[in-house]
Amino acid sequence: MGILLLVGSWILLGIGTLFLWFLRNKKVTHLIGTVTVFLSSLFIFGGSLWVLIQGSPDEYYLPWNIPFGSIYLRIDFLSALFLLLLAVIGGLVALYSYGYFFEERTQRSLSRYWIFYFGLFGGISLVFTAYNGVFFLLAWEGMSITSFFLVLHEFTNKEVRKAGWIYLMATHGGTAFLLVLFGILGSDLEVWDFNMFQYPAMLATPIFLLACIGFGTKAGFMPFHVWLPEAHPAAPSPVSALMSGVMIKTGIYGLIRVISWLEGDIPLSWGILCIGLSSVTGVLGVLHALGKKDLKEILAYSSIENMGIIGMGLGIGLYGLSRSLGIGALLGFTAALFHVLHHGLLKSSLFLASGTVLHATHTRNIEELGGLWKKVPKTGTLFGLSSFGIAGLPPMSGFVGEFLLFLAVLSLSIQGKTIVDILIALIVLISLAVIGVGSVACFTRLFGVVFLGEPRKEKTVHLVEGWTWTIPLYLLGGMNLVLGIGSIGLAPLVFGAVVSTVPGIAYQTALDTVTILQQTLFPLGVLGLLFLSLTILFSRIWNWILKNRSVETSPTWDCGYTRPTSRMQYTASSFTYPILRVFRRVLHPAESFQWEGNLFPRAASYTTTLHDLILRILYRPLVRTITRIARRIHALQEGKNQVYILYIALTLILLMVIFLGEVP
């Protein structure tokens, strides 16, 4: 039944594509696109829920004459969980797209957008269900290519084309590693079915490295993250929402799948590698987010940071498995999966809200924004709520994953007791602390500078917040609040996915972990409710106190200065300058300072720009070296036929000399 519903959704998408292909009425195609995705997301939602409620995986097998291939579809708990996320976000993003492109729909046909959206949506759902290597790679490529075309939606812009190019390079680079990965795993097999995969003992670590690079590129682990801050600002906001909310999670899904094929002992180095990689990802991600000024670039770096948190959860899980500290391991994996879901919901709602900002102001530079709350109050409220959540603060959902990760670290250090355990705990904890406060700083900055205060540049905001703009945001924000308080309700699904996927977990360990989850998530929900009711209580008390008092309005107190202007506000750059200053030796923000006039100040300007650290210290030199070598070799390319014939002759002679004795 689960598979049936899923296939149903694909058929729906197919029919929708046909309509879009042949219909010429622009308004109707736009409506058809929205409705099709919405309906098919309902199908997927139903299918995955069916599997989760039924409690047993659903599968379908059909032989396929492609080498190593078979049409093997399987929805297990892990797939169902990710499909659920896809259905919710995909459907709501489609709804939002309807409003977002509403004005565009009369100017040009949006059928291209919708067909690629169908492709991406279907591709991701296929990635989560394909259970055969070749099939999976095909789905993976389909997902990558359709998302590439979606990034290129505004292809007339040169920046967008450059970003699309970088994205294509990165995603194909990643896929190349996956091809090798599946090739090694399936080297003795006739079909690359996932349930047949076994680790060759010798090659276990190379396989894990390949998976880390291949899937890590999609997930945005540093140093493979460079495409994220390029592609997200370039893509239309609904596309960024879907990509950041769900597509990058396919990388995490893939990593967990690879882990699930493990048998026997896991080398200690895997967990350490994963934790090292992710803590660097998390910390550098948040530091970059603090220094950037482009609204969507900041959100992209925040995604990288959150992938770091998820990766740390996986790392703790792997490390715990190899140290046979089962409870810590399970808590780590559970934390990772919780954070996958929560980050998906939070980040997609933030990207959608940023789409509204973009639409209303036509700028992504946060230094030019300000005071938007008064113009778009609903979007402002929900952006604030999601910022609050993604900063990892209770009672919103973003906190649950971080809390469980902390618990995993605690249990690892208390039960492990060796020096390495403590050092691991230390690294994760310090990263978690830096990420935690860093993201609070980052999102107070983003929310405060964009929505609060006064506009930094006079802008006419022409946007009426219609229901298609706000309903998806309301739903996502509401889900985050509910899932933050009621995380205990989601725990069985997440924990079920973890236990059914992670290899080598004793029954008793699982039971103990369930007890810990109950002991912690329930009081967490109680505290969340307490917090909400206290807030409401105090607001009532205040209303009562102020009922018969004078409530006045006056300009902001600026210490006696009578003519404050909006340009005197603290800027986004100055807000985080002290923090970045501590890390200036690492990040090297480029500063430029212009000062005219000597004794008497005249026009002066000061700007800081933060360039991506990894881009600067790794990729730029790498590309430079490759270019230099290529330029050397370039000398061979003469362009004259005679010279090429000379090359051929020389090669032949060389070959003859080498193989002189061997040819019979």
Binding site: A433, F447, P523, L527, T535, L546
Partner: protein, 296 residues
Amino acid sequence: MSLLLALILSPLFLGIIVRTKAFFAGRKGQPLLQFYYDLVKLLRKGVVYSSSTTLVFRLSPWLALATVGTALFILPLPGYSGWISFPGDFFVLFSLLGVLRFSLVCSALDTGSSFEGMGASREMFISFLAEPALLLSFLVLAFGLEGYTLKEILSHPFSIGAGRTVALYFISVSLLIVLLAENSRIPFDDPNTHLELTMIHEVMVLDHSGPDLAGILYSSALKLWILGSLWVGISIPVRWGIFYIDVLVFLGSMGLLAVIIGIIESILARVRMIRVSHALSLATVLAGLALLWTIG
């Protein structure tokens, strides 16, 4: 009990600090109960809102009180269990302080004032450096005492083992630094000055008035009480096992802490913003040393 004590006595705590400082300066000082009078006076006033502000600004006192109120449900009397106690509860406690920070910083940015923006920026900067030290200290305690909850950690810190007590001293100093930084005391911030450029916490609430200001001031007094009682629980581990005596010991220790803070504020000058990072790195390094001591 811990909840009631905090609600009733936290303004007195501030009073003791101020009286200690007055004693060192050779002044008579304000009455011990001055903060109660201030709060009552503020509660009876009207409010002025800036025309730049939005709902976020009005939310800030409610959120501040609600977060501190929720945190008080977790906070135990040292040696006893809090009302809500569960594994990892101290992480939730610290995150709630993060909520307080979030709402205050947002309300400061909401006014559009450059001074409040500066205060918000500095508040984030200081907590950015203080948070790792705080979490690290509690990791050491949790690891050394094998406790998952605040109750287990604060009950008998000296059961950490004879060879490891030095770690406790390190953590005690580290936590004291964090306590001063997080609550905007000297040497990180000066709660008395009224020159806006030098202030951090006070400048963030420049535009709050009347009951709103009362709410914010009360919640920061409670925040000081919360972190203070964590410090007392670790640094002055005298437990009799008889509830009322323990309460008295706890209150005495809190009074002692107030005097210590008063003395520190009297003999130290406020450090430059750039040096703040050095002082807070010291806290992190001390916690790290404590960790080494606990392992080794």
